[in-house]
Amino acid sequence: MSRVRTRDAAAFESLYDAYHRLVYGIAFRIVGEAAVAEDVTQTVFLKLWSAPERFDGGNFGGWIARVARNQALDIVRRKSHSETELSEAMPDSDLLEERVFSEIDAAQVRRAIAQLPAEQREPIELGFFGGITHAEIARRTGTPLGTIKTRIRTGLGKLRSALEGTVAV
């Protein structure tokens, strides 16, 4: 990233090669259309090129994933006409210290998520990729709100433990 800040196009290309599948994958999962997901990917990377100072340190993958999610959800929000209750955008950076998985692999994560019980996996995926609130998740799944909150916490905890067994943290 430090080389990108000095307008190094080759460094930017390396970043693109390393992270474009992550950005596009998140966008596609949220918007569900290849053309729109490409628009989101283009916007995210050109924003990164024009304002690299927005990334102020920490885990770059986690940061660009949040930017991609917020950008894609903006489009869903514009289309939704307030039919659903939508959650707040995730901050691009967190004030709290954030320990992150230093080596993360999509296949490992997919396996770990697949091992979660469906009742925990579903609210987590709806919340992250659907951009809706816990209350809306409760309504859609016909589950009490308190149960949804418990399942989200339990599921994220299990996911954390499962990944701790496979990657360094």
Partner: protein, 262 residues
């Protein structure tokens, strides 16, 4: 479960990014002063980042999984390269092939100073140009998104105003059916009290009870135009009632209106 256990669950939902704005603000403020909740947030946040990684597109197109179009990279890198400023090293290369005139040190120094100033000026101009180009590219992308949104709204507008649409008047608005699409269009709805929303209900033909549909809020002027996601031809009745946030499985209040679709 005590109050603090409940807050720990809210912290998990906050880490997932699934809290509404006001609750998210409250959790954020709490995290700044509660070590236990802050630790829980730090424990769960990487798991949320991991969820994002699960969506990473597969690098192998032959697998049949979703992959970005390779032309996307060309498009982005074209934008980036167009905006890269001139490098100082190019100036050095140009100077190397120029004949050096001795002993005009003063003239050479002056030329070098002019060259450096000009280069710096060029870099500044290129920087501005690059920012402008990036903004134009972003605007282009935004324009495409807006075009799609306008197309969807045009469909809605045509449906609402078409002469072959069926209009069913209700208090403060109407229900509109066009083909297999169904809308609720209200023009002076009251704002629900805090913690409440409006919820649409549909009664399918042959059904004995109402099915819950979307929740919604009118704007400040009381206007709400809602597309009801259903096959309109299968719907016998439409109703709206005021419900707790998140909606209900069964109506919990007297409907604002019920209308039969003939």
């Amino acid at each position: 479960m005590n109050g603090h256990d409940a807050m720990l669950e809210d912290v998990a939902v906050y880490a997932l990014g699934a809290l509404p704005r006001e609750q998210a603000r409250a959790v954020r403020e709490h995290l700044a002063s509660c070590a236990e909740c802050a630790a829980e947030y730090r424990r769960l946040k990487p798991a949320v980042d991991a969820v994002a990684y699960s969506a990473e597109a597969c690098p192998d197109a032959a697998s049949g999984a979703v992959v970005p179009n390779p032309r996307l990279k060309t498009r982005i890198m074209d934008e980036v390269r167009r905006s890269v400023p001139t490098r100082l090293s190019n100036v050095g290369e140009m100077r190397a092939v120029r004949p050096i005139v001795w002993p005009a040190y003063a003239v050479a120094a002056a030329c070098l100073a002019v060259a450096l100033i000009t280069t710096a000026f060029n870099i500044s101009l290129n920087e501005e140009l690059h920012q402008t180009e990036a903004q134009v590219a972003q605007l282009g992308t935004h324009a495409k998104m807006l075009t799609r949104q306008v197309a969807a709204q045009n469909t809605e507008l045509v449906d609402l105003t078409s002469s072959d649409s069926q209009h069913y008047a209700v208090e403060d608005g109407e229900v509109v059916r066009h083909g297999n699409r169904l809308y609720i269009a209200m023009d002076s709805m009251g704002t629900p009290p805090r913690g409440k929303v409006y919820q649409a209900w549909i009664m399918r033909k042959g059904a004995a009870k109402m099915t819950p549909s979307v929740t919604f809020m009118p704007d400040r002027k009381g206007i709400a135009v809602i597309h009801v996601p259903t096959q309109a031809s299968q719907v016998a009745e439409v109703a709206v009632s005021m419900e707790p946030e998140g909606g209900s499985k069964q109506p919990t209040s007297k409907p604002t209106f019920i209308v039969k679709l003939t």
